[in-house]
């Protein structure tokens, strides 16, 4: 199923945060493979991932539980995770 415009924008935004926080070079949000394994393929470690998670928390206003960090293995999984948290928040607000 093709991804929605909203999902695509979120993926680009997350990629942008990762590039900035991890000071990645020679890569842009557009060229960042959303299915790249951040741990196995990019070499991201726990401290880097924690830093990214903290910035994402600020950006999206959602709480990311520390136990969920290992699930955030790709940009796409992060986008889906955030989507579910945001939907959960909306559900609570409704």
């Amino acid at each position: 199923m093709p991804e929605s415009k909203e999902t695509r924008e979120r993926i680009l935004q997350i990629a942008s945060i990762i590039i900035e926080e991890l000071k990645l070079e020679e890569i842009t949000p557009e060229s960042f493979d959303p299915d790249l394994d951040l741990v196995d393929e990019l070499g991201v470690d726990s401290m880097d991932l924690a830093t990214v998670a903290l910035v994402l928390q600020d950006e999206y206003g959602v709480f990311i539980d520390e136990d969920d960090y290992p699930k955030l293995k790709t940009v796409r999984l992060i986008a889906e995770y955030l989507q579910s948290r945001l939907q959960g928040r909306k559900g609570k607000d409704a």
Binding site: V39, D45, M47, Q57, E66
Partner: protein, 369 residues
């Protein structure tokens, strides 16, 4: 009735500027970084997030035999000693290939195998050697060197069977930028610490603190109790105030290592021995190699055969407290305390890293899980 605060993290006080009463505010990470000094320290320490450690027993021999020594507990002491330089070179290359960037060379006494130290340094430029300091390690080996101090000379003679040890250690490592003297507080040597630290700092040596952490099954007199933890805390604070440039420690280091609860209960140990997850972090990458170059995941931690419930080891804290960044972003005081802890750990373990001034002077309680 005992004071409920005995051996706990807080001092009953409130950091300057912290509002009275419970702080229910949820701070954004960006707000915690708004202070330029905090932001600068964060940017400094995060440059070292690439460090990924493993540890290596270099020799099963030692020129001292200390009461309570962790090495001569458990099975690791029975491992065959592999003195083949090429085997060590291959191991270091393999470690580098799987992402290890920092090596801790320890047990039983690494200075007895100088050729292997040279091989490791040639392959892996960042690391630390834990030594008793009796033999000087070649200055060409540019690792940090941690020299273990367990009390004054009378105590060293009794516990380590070594005479005039402190003088020999200072003679070997005075003016050596690699050297950090590690004073291990036991329940028996607390009152000696001030005198020993005074001697070391007068010789311009740098000092940090460790806590005796009982090996599994140890019931001897060195083990800490609630009273000895409180007394140790007081001496650590006094030494930090008396020698701020030479004593590498922070108020939060004091809290974390003299708390009634050990590091595992406070923070959740992330070494494989206590952490089944292999997803990320130490559980994924850390190994503890024995002298025969094998390792056992079930036993792998920075000081194997330590009783985990009693572990307040400085090496463990350096990894375990540091790894819990996300638990320390609750408020400005807790985050500054964490930064001080990490700043201290880097100054103790990384060549060329100079400790900054502590950002939080108060004793902040560890975050509740």
């Amino acid at each position: 009735m005992p004071d409920d605060r005995e051996g706990r993290g807080d001092d009953g006080g409130r950091p300057a500027g912290r509002p009275e009463g419970p702080d229910h505010r949820r701070w954004k990470f960006s707000e915690l970084l708004a202070d330029p000094a905090v932001k600068a320290r964060w940017e400094t320490v995060r440059k070292y997030f690439f460090l990924r450690e493993s540890t290596y027993d270099m020799s099963n021999r030692c020129n001292l035999r200390c009461d309570g020594c962790y090495y001569y507990e458990g099975e690791k002491q029975l491992a065959r000693e592999n003195g083949d330089a090429e085997a060590w070179r291959s191991l270091m290359r393999a470690e580098k290939a799987r992402g290890i960037t920092y090596v801790v060379l320890a047990g039983a006494e690494p200075s007895l195998v100088p050729g292997l130290l040279e091989v490791c340094f040639a392959e892996m430029p960042l690391g630390c050697i834990a030594t008793n300091g009796v033999r000087r390690i070649d200055p060409a080996v540019g690792y940090k060197i941690h020299i273990s101090v367990w009390g004054n000379d009378a105590t060293s003679l009794r516990v380590r069977k070594a005479s005039e040890l402190l003088g020999r250690q200072i003679e070997n490592y005075r003016d050596d930028p690699r050297a950090v003297f590690v004073y291990t507080f036991t329940s028996e040597n607390i009152d000696e610490a001030a005198g020993v630290v005074d001697v070391l700092t007068a010789a311009e040596c740098r000092v940090t603190f460790n806590m005796f952490s009982s090996p599994v099954g140890y019931t001897g007199p060195l083990r800490h109790d609630g009273v000895s933890l409180i007394r140790t805390r007081g001496v650590m604070q006094e030494m930090m105030a008396r020698h701020p440039r030479r004593v590498l420690f922070s108020p939060y280091s004091v809290v974390a290592h003299t708390h009634a609860l050990g590091l595992h209960d406070l923070y959740g140990c992330s070494y494989p021995r206590m952490n089944p997850s292999t997803d990320i972090g130490l559980g994924r990458s850390f190994r503890q190699f024995r002298t025969d170059l094998t390792w056992d995941r079930d036993a792998a931690c920075c000081v194997p055969d330590t009783d985990c419930g009693d572990c307040r080891h400085y090496a463990a804290g350096s990894a375990v407290v540091t790894a819990r960044l996300y638990r320390h972003v609750t408020d400005p005081w807790t985050f500054r305390s964490w930064l001080d802890y990490v700043d201290t750990y880097l100054a103790v373990w990384v060549m060329g890293y100079e400790k900054g001034e502590n950002l939080c002077a108060e004793m902040v309680s560890p975050p509740r899980v």
